[in-house]
Symmetry: C2
Subunit: 442 residues, 2 copies
């Protein structure tokens, strides 16, 4: 494998130059435990700010029920420039009607006033329970506190990564560095996921031709100088191969959002569509950041015990390949068999058989490989079980991470989906506790 | 409510005159515990036989991966007449290639030889693990034993209902009686379900225009005299409103089959498309039998703790209504919230938002009613939460059975889907135990 054209750095959002961050606890779930993270509460509100106006690109849920902050941010990213992102967990501000829109707008206005900007340069994202009004007193005081704490430390970025967590067990951060000409460019990112995870995002909420289906939030900063149209195109490409290729439970959220701010502080020659190497390197680094963040979401999905990469090769079309891969990845029976470490290829065949993909049973090969290894051990060849002992297959599926390969042998369509098993812990977590509504999930 | 035009009887398959049944244990899973149900083992092979040739109709899985017995039975039901059904649990005879087809055919030939019939008058159905060859020695000796036990007792029918069980916790039987003119007609039926349940059956495996998605098996006997073409049409209508409206886990099996044998022993005037009252009464009784059997499958689904009837009203089209109802019924997050007794309408809105149905968020009403009651308590009106206290909604969803009503208020499309919650028991059951392959499920 060729050496990747970038190196990994510590930290995330504040690794690129000219970015500041802050995360605070302002009791958005109204636990009534007193405010301030000094009380040992998980932070629930964050600010991400560029020191100068930045090019912006966003990808948003294609769910027809989309949250108020999605509507406002999608509108504002259309104008190519932004400077600040306000984000909270604990309340999705979805299904909250006109009041929700007013609250989301007020969140941006509050941040703008504190930072002496125009509110249209401020974006907003929310995640948490659907259908509950935002506790605006708490939120406003949170934004004011965060605005005063903004700095470029690694800790502050980590605080935002914490603030966006809902059912996530850990924060998710990454940063990379690469060169364009003489200049060093950095890209940093954070994300959150856990449940309601099968994003299908587009730049404007319009459904892609092949209809895809967490709340997942991803925030990326870079000091690259890049033309906004080119940035939007780069983000679309990166998301199509990363966040839009993951599924935990097959549910697409009302709030899925990925945002990138590119502030140009690195001073490189502006990247445009016609830039050659610069664009290629930027895309490769952005692809890597998005894919690693997306995989972190799956690995930390609610109750997940196994991470599975599903490859479908040789489908008649690439949309057939995707349909087959998603049918496998979203089948309750396939996912529970993985939880049990059972290489039950019968359930896999069943799932592709009812998918929209065209298949011919006696042309299908099914095999397993260790994560990142090329050698495939086949369970099935041309629709017939191989002589590989059951115990050998069990050993492969017993790994924390493995890859499934399905060859339809009908064409050249290919798709990859990153997914996980379905466990009792997922069910236990999501059944919630109705005696404690404040603790109920999204 | 008008009195139904039929009365309920005890028993099932042998309630109609001229039918015999038998169920035996022949160790299809090769547990090695010795043969014969006298050892206390659950029966695993059954025979259903009409004393005279009968009109036949069948509905089969539309999964592209379909089991050998489905292929053989579908071909034979096309010729309108049949007399015997051989059925086994413990092995689905799916993904077993040419050998599987030969075995399925041999099962029918064995039964035919014992009963002195032509094998083309014998149908075959299997359910159980996919991708394992049939243990033909055991199966053949089972068929021979069953053929010798055939009788018209209620117990024998109950033995077949037991023989088709896989993860079912209990057998599922029903019988009804009604009149056509001076004649008394009876219909009896049994079925099995539990997991891999979201049937989408058609008479010939061709997918219905609105693509739907267990193994579920249903066997129905009737002593009505009915023209085979009319019988096929009646079964299509009945299945469309019953077995094809249920989902436990969203997985459509490779083996789903519903068969009906109508032997004419009642001596009524032949029912044809142009018969008026006779046809209407027959359809109503068959509809009832199929719907009650289908609901039994959902109530006894793997790990099920709650039975939910999902109504979508006022969709733009009926296929939109169905898409929305199935998105709700198959959402892991909605199903786990029901397990927790959480009236989480946010997850419901999320699911219909990513479905293929057209929706407008601020036109949607969502409410709950007690099972069979008309009064709806609304959680949401025009996309905005009502003032109904959370505790009131919790009380409704705490019931073992309740009904969910979603009004899209966009047109006159309507759909009903019968479903259940997703529980830890489902996961525990389906993860299986790889250290004991013989005990692994389908």
């Amino acid at each position: 494998m060729a050496k990747p054209p970038f190196k990994l750095l510590e930290g995330s959002l504040t690794a690129p130059r000219g970015f500041r961050a802050a995360g605070v606890f302002c009791d958005i779930k109204r636990l009534g435990t007193g405010k301030g993270s000094e009380k040992g509460q998980k932070r629930d509100l964050g600010l991400i700010a560029s020191e100068v106006p930045a090019a912006v690109a966003g990808m948003y849920t294609t769910n027809q029920v989309c949250a108020a902050p999605v509507k406002i941010s999608a509108e504002r990213t259309a104008k190519d420039r932004a400077q600040v992102i306000v984000v909270n967990s604990g309340n999705a501000n979805a299904c909250t009607g006109k009041r929700g829109l007013k609250d989301a707008d007020l969140m941006t206005a509050t941040a703008a006033r504190e930072l002496r900007l125009d509110k249209i340069d401020v974006l907003v994202c929310s995640t948490g329970r659907i259908g509950v009004e935002m506790p605006m007193e708490n939120v406003k005081s949170g934004i004011i506190s965060a605005a005063r704490l903004l700095d470029n430390s690694r800790e502050s970025a980590a605080h935002v990564a914490e603030a966006i967590m809902t059912s996530d067990s850990r924060p998710k951060e990454i940063a990379v560095e690469f060169r364009i000409g003489a200049e060093t460019i950095r890209i940093g990112g954070i994300c959150k996921g856990a449940g309601m995870i099968q994003p299908g995002m587009s730049p404007n909420g319009a459904r892609p031709a092949s209809s895809l289906h967490a709340t997942m939030l991803g925030f990326i900063t870079t000091d690259a100088a890049i033309d906004p149209k080119t940035l939007k195109r780069c983000l679309e490409i990166a998301v199509a191969q990363s966040f839009n290729r993951i599924t935990v439970d097959g549910d697409m959220s009302t709030n899925d959002t990925v945002l990138v701010l590119a502030n140009g502080v690195a001073g490189n020659k502006l990247i445009t569509r016609s830039t050659r190497d610069g664009l290629k390197n930027f895309q490769a680094a952005l692809d890597h950041v998005c894919l690693e963040l997306a995989k972190m979401i799956v690995r930390d999905g609610e109750g997940v015990s196994r991470f599975v990469t599903v490859h479908v090769h040789g489908a008649k079309t690439s949309s057939d390949a995707e349909a087959a891969a998603r049918a496998i990845a979203n089948s309750s029976l396939v996912k529970t068999s993985w939880f049990g470490g059972d290489p039950n290829w019968g359930r896999i065949l069943d799932a592709i058989g009812y998918s929209a993909a065209m298949i011919i049973e006696d042309k299908i090969d099914v095999g397993y490989s260790r994560s990142g290894e090329k050698k495939i051990t086949y369970a099935l060849k041309q629709g017939v079980p191989t002589t590989v002992p059951f115990a050998t297959l069990v050993k492969l599926v017993a790994e924390k991470e493995f890859e499934l390969h399905v060859f339809l042998n009908l064409g050249s369509g290919h798709a990859v989906v990153y997914t996980c098993d379905l466990t009792e812990e997922y069910v236990e977590f999501n059944k919630g506790d109705v005696s404690n509504p404040a603790a109920l999930g999204g």
